[in-house]
């Protein structure tokens, strides 16, 4: 098993140019504007002090490439600038927000798997049947709903109507956090499900028709054991890459959902920063999120390789 993971260093090296590209885009975001970027970023109502502070942060009086390398150098030192609103290092704000967003993402991913796997199996078992159509209706609706609206509807039904969940906020203890994260995670999961179900359903149909499932049946396997042993893992392989690609979507969605449920994560941080025109904070969140997506891409490859012995990313490099 381990020898097949030897591709990881190579894969890491491969993603270095992409990571640099990401920093380049984040860097140039601020320079897309004409005139003094600091003034443009902060808006007309900005005080001269904050303009001066941001100009200094951005190093605006040096050549552009020097500014970029300065920016890169600061990133490597773990310095993402100072939040204009909070007058705190962006990294320490990130450190507070990241656990919230990551817990939300983790829980949402868990929920979407818990919902998707049985539904996909139900649909794949008899394609075109009544259950398949029901599942398809669910995926169509799930795809057609704006995430934030679904969140509001769940608040209306489960928090306001049934009083089963809090309307928003994050609570104070770990148990509280889980309780407060339930609805937002469910919201994200429902909108994430359609993509997973669609992918799982079609790969399950393929697997169920495959000869090796026939072999498993000829060994006397049936029902849940057959599903667990010979269908799920094989069908999961293509879905892993679908999920990997869509985690980026989940991250984007979580930003909006945090706003709906007043969760103190990256999304709230970013959206508040937009209204206070706190550019270093926006830049910090954007950079973190994009690098996170790059890392997720690598993790996806690792999981994929562990699930499918036929793949050998390492072999490509060696040949």
């Amino acid at each position: 098993m381990l020898h097949r993971l030897r591709f990881i260093p190579g894969r890491l090296i491969q993603s270095i140019p992409v990571a640099f590209g990401v920093t380049l885009i984040v860097f140039f975001m601020a320079r897309l504007l004409p005139g003094n970027p600091a003034l443009a970023l902060l808006g007309q109502r900005a005080t001269p002090e904050s303009v001066a502070a941001l100009s200094k942060q951005l190093g605006l009086n040096t050549p552009i490439w020097e500014q970029y390398f300065g920016f890169l150098g600061r990133i490597f030192q773990g310095n993402l600038g100072t939040s204009i609103t909070y007058q705190q290092p962006v990294t320490s704000l990130l450190a507070q927000a990241i656990p919230v967003t990551m817990s939300l993402l983790g829980l949402a991913l868990l929920f979407s798997l818990v919902i998707s796997i049985p539904l996909a199996a139900l649909a794949a078992f008899r394609p075109g049947g009544a259950r398949d159509l029901g599942v398809r209706a669910f995926t169509l609706l799930g795809q057609g709903m704006p995430q934030f609206w679904l969140g509001i509807m769940l608040i209306l039904l489960l928090a306001v109507g049934l009083r089963a969940f809090p309307v928003g906020g994050y609570g104070n203890s770990a148990g509280d956090h889980l309780y407060y994260l339930f609805l937002p995670a469910l919201t994200l999961a429902i909108t994430m499900c359609p993509t997973i179900i669609r992918s799982l359903r079609s790969s399950m149909i393929d697997v169920l028709e495959s000869e090796y499932v026939g072999t498993a049946k000829s060994k006397g396997s049936y029902g849940a054991a057959l599903f667990r042993g010979h269908v799920l893992r094989n069908a999961a392989i293509p879905t892993v890459s679908v999920i990997g690609v869509n985690l980026g979507f989940l991250v984007g969605g979580s930003l909006v959902i945090e706003k709906v449920f007043a969760l103190p994560g990256l999304g709230s941080m970013m959206i508040n920063a937009i209204f206070t025109r706190d550019f270093p904070t926006i830049q910090g969140v954007t950079l973190f999120v994009a690098l996170f997506v790059v890392v997720v891409g690598i993790l996806t490859d690792v999981v994929y390789t562990m699930l499918d012995p036929r793949v050998n990313f390492g072999a490509k490099e060696q040949s």
Binding site: Y212, G214, G220, G223, I237
Partner: protein
């Protein structure tokens, strides 16, 4: 008389249609397999031989079903038996070997674990003991270094080794009946021979009966004691291999033998059968072989000829059989 191990009666397989007549692929098929017998089913692709085998194993493809008839295993009716009960027979009673070992083995599970799956379920073995049995079975099929190979994934093995894995898997629970669906077709000729030898030997050792589907007459000659020749969903001739090979009584069987190379008479010319197998949708009421048959008479196109015993234990479904092969004129 002892109940046969497997008894197929009037088995009809096809696709059920709601708006038009059902498409029939295997029509009113009957045969018995006795304990320890080696029964070959020969036919061209599309003759329904593989579907017959799959019907016995409850592995018919989606949409295709048993329309009528009976399959009895050891006296117990399989058609209509609940899936759970039927699957319990698969492994310790009936096992199957498929044509293409690459697609028949699960690509993401180590072959040792795939072999051990059945023994763990049926023989109640621990993980370790089941793996030991798997390795033992692999050794019996002649796989060198089985302990190491057991940790391999299917794609890491050659075709011949994969088919040996299939054999080890099928025989791991000691089945009484082994269904083989063209088990050597996907292999190189030299490997084919070795794999057949292994299969024969292991069946001899365990006393398992064999139902062997193939299009290759030479393979039947080597492996089987009895055979049935299928054409367009019908058994048109059956009997002891020797009897049928030396004295074919159906023009199609004769044609098959004439069109296959014979190593005993290498100088003999190969004679192809003219025409093509019939389209399933355009089935006529008469003998399905009639359009290609040089001996066909008008009566052939009217009704399917009845199966007649042409020699002891040797049956053929041809009304002209006696005229053609014995020179008898009425």
């Amino acid at each position: 008389m002892e109940t046969p191990l497997l008894s197929v009666k009037s088995l009809t397989i096809g696709i059920r249609r709601s708006k038009s007549a059902d498409t029939i692929i295997v029509d009113d098929l009957s045969f018995d397999i006795q304990r320890g017998e080696r029964f070959g089913i020969v036919g061209e692709s599309g003759s329904g031989k593989s579907l017959t085998l799959r019907a016995i194993a409850d592995l018919l493809p989606k949409g295709v079903e048993v329309l009528s008839g009976s399959i009895r295993y050891n006296g117990a009716e399989l058609i209509g038996m609940p899936t759970v009960q039927r699957r319990r027979l698969m492994g310790p009673e009936i096992a199957m070997i498929f044509q293409e070992p690459m697609t028949a083995l699960n690509p993401v599970i180590r072959v040792g674990d795939q072999i051990a799956e059945g023994p763990r379920r049926y023989l109640g073995l621990s993980k370790k003991a089941a793996m030991a049995l798997a390795i033992e079975m692999m050794a019996k099929t002649g796989i060198p270094d089985p302990a190491r190979r057991a940790r391999a994934y299917p794609h890491e093995l050659s075709g011949g080794l994969r088919q040996r894995i299939m054999i080890a898997m099928a025989l791991s629970c000691g089945p009484k009946l082994l269904l083989c669906d063209e088990p050597t077709t996907a292999l190189d000729v030299t490997v084919q021979h070795q794999v057949l030898k292994v299969l024969e030997k292991l069946c001899d050792d365990s006393g398992a009966a064999l139902a062997f589907v193939t299009h290759d007459l030479a393979v039947v000659n080597q492996t089987c004691t009895d055979l049935a020749v299928m054409y367009a969903g019908h058994i048109i001739e059956s009997g002891k291999v020797k009897s049928v090979f030396h004295d074919p009584r159906h023009p199609y069987t004769k044609g098959l033998l004439d069109s296959a190379p014979d190593f005993d008479q290498p100088e003999r010319d190969l004679v192809p059968i003219p025409g093509f197998p019939p389209n399933l949708a355009a089935r006529t009421s008469g003998c399905p072989f009639a359009p290609r048959c040089v001996f066909a008479v008008e009566a052939c196109t009217v009704a399917m000829p009845p199966t007649m015993e042409v020699a002891p234990g040797h049956n053929a479904a041809c009304i002209e059989s006696q005229h053609i092969f014995e020179g008898v004129t009425v």
